[in-house]
């Protein structure tokens, strides 16, 4: 509360951090993932055996590591936002770079996972479980790449001094998107990799 009170723009309490436009996008994306998850749950209920069998073949360790990586990156992003709210653009830039680097760790681990599946000859058409596994993880994977592009742009702008304690909507916008990507993975990982 104190922080908000000391915030220069305390008078204008905002409903959502960042630009409203990104929230329309975020809602749309959450809707897509939401429908996808429901479709997964429904189909799984129809084919419990199949799903349980092939779930065993997924690399749960890499999935778990990636979960930690993404949560860590979200923490970096939170720190970046906190930094710019203090007006510390340099710190903000560094936290964002760390977040992008964690994102790229996720990407490397994920690519290794895809490569292993590819080497086994597994595709979208192998069976319904792999269809969902590959569709969901690849769709999410593209979101991670997109998020990294956004955070990189924001980091570059922060480095060039485009943001300050008063005006930093861009940082909050990028952060909101990245948290969405993280949130989706936090649901996706247990749902597809773990839950029996």
């Amino acid at each position: 509360m104190e922080q908000i009170a000391s915030h220069p723009a305390a008078g204008q309490k905002k409903a959502l951090p960042g630009d409203f436009a990104i929230w329309i996008f975020i809602y749309a994306e959450l809707l897509v993932f939401g429908i996808f998850f429901l479709a997964y749950a429904y189909t799984r209920a129809q084919h419990v055996e199949l799903f349980n069998t092939y779930q065993q073949h997924l690399n749960r360790e890499s999935g778990a590591i990636n979960t930690l990586v993404l949560i860590t990156s979200s923490y970096f992003v939170v720190m970046a936002v906190a930094a710019i709210r203090r007006g510390a653009a340099g710190h903000c830039t560094r936290w964002l770079i760390l977040a992008v680097l964690s994102g790229s760790v996720f990407v490397w681990i994920k690519l290794a996972e895809f490569a292993a599946k590819h080497a086994e000859g597994i595709t979208l058409s192998t069976n319904t479980f792999y269809m969902f596994y590959l569709s969901l993880t690849f769709f999410h994977f593209m979101h991670v790449l997109m998020g990294m592009v956004i955070l990189s742009v924001v980091a570059l702008k922060a480095y060039r001094g485009a943001y300050n304690a008063q005006e930093h909507t861009g940082v909050e916008t990028g952060a909101s998107y990245w948290h969405m990507v993280d949130l989706v993975w936090i649901i996706l990982f247990p749902l597809v990799y773990v839950l029996h």
Binding site: Q12, K13, K14, A15, L16, G18, D19, F20, A21, I22, I24, F25, T123, L124, S125, F138, F139, M142, M146, I150, T169, T173
Partner: protein, 144 residues
Amino acid sequence: MSEVFTKSMARNIYYGGSVFFILLFLALTFDTSSEVPKRDNHEAITEQVALGKKVWEENDCIGCHTLLGEGAYFAPELGNVYKRFGNSTDAIVGFIKSRPVEGIPGRRSMPQFNLSDEELQAVAEFLKYTSEIDTSNWPPNIQG
């Protein structure tokens, strides 16, 4: 309460979102192109089938019929007509050949296209080929 909603962010979402989904669509297309040969019955494509497709197109059959559900809805589905006609290309040839020039009074009628025997055989073979494409079990029954 003042919400920030800028035109430049809306623009970024338009361009970024479009590029994102175009890339995703291309990725799925790429996968499709490697998967389609397992389902498309391309082994059955012969010179005769190619001629059959040409006859099919140059008489605008799609202007009345559907083929795998696409086309006009004036006349029966032909994607499975080979099977509906008892797995017989002769039956298809016989049907096309016997259409009355002046039509059937009061009823829908297929025109008499005056196709040569070669063309008739070819279009029948073309329809045999399409009936063996893996369409995920569509149409729901033999009536199309």
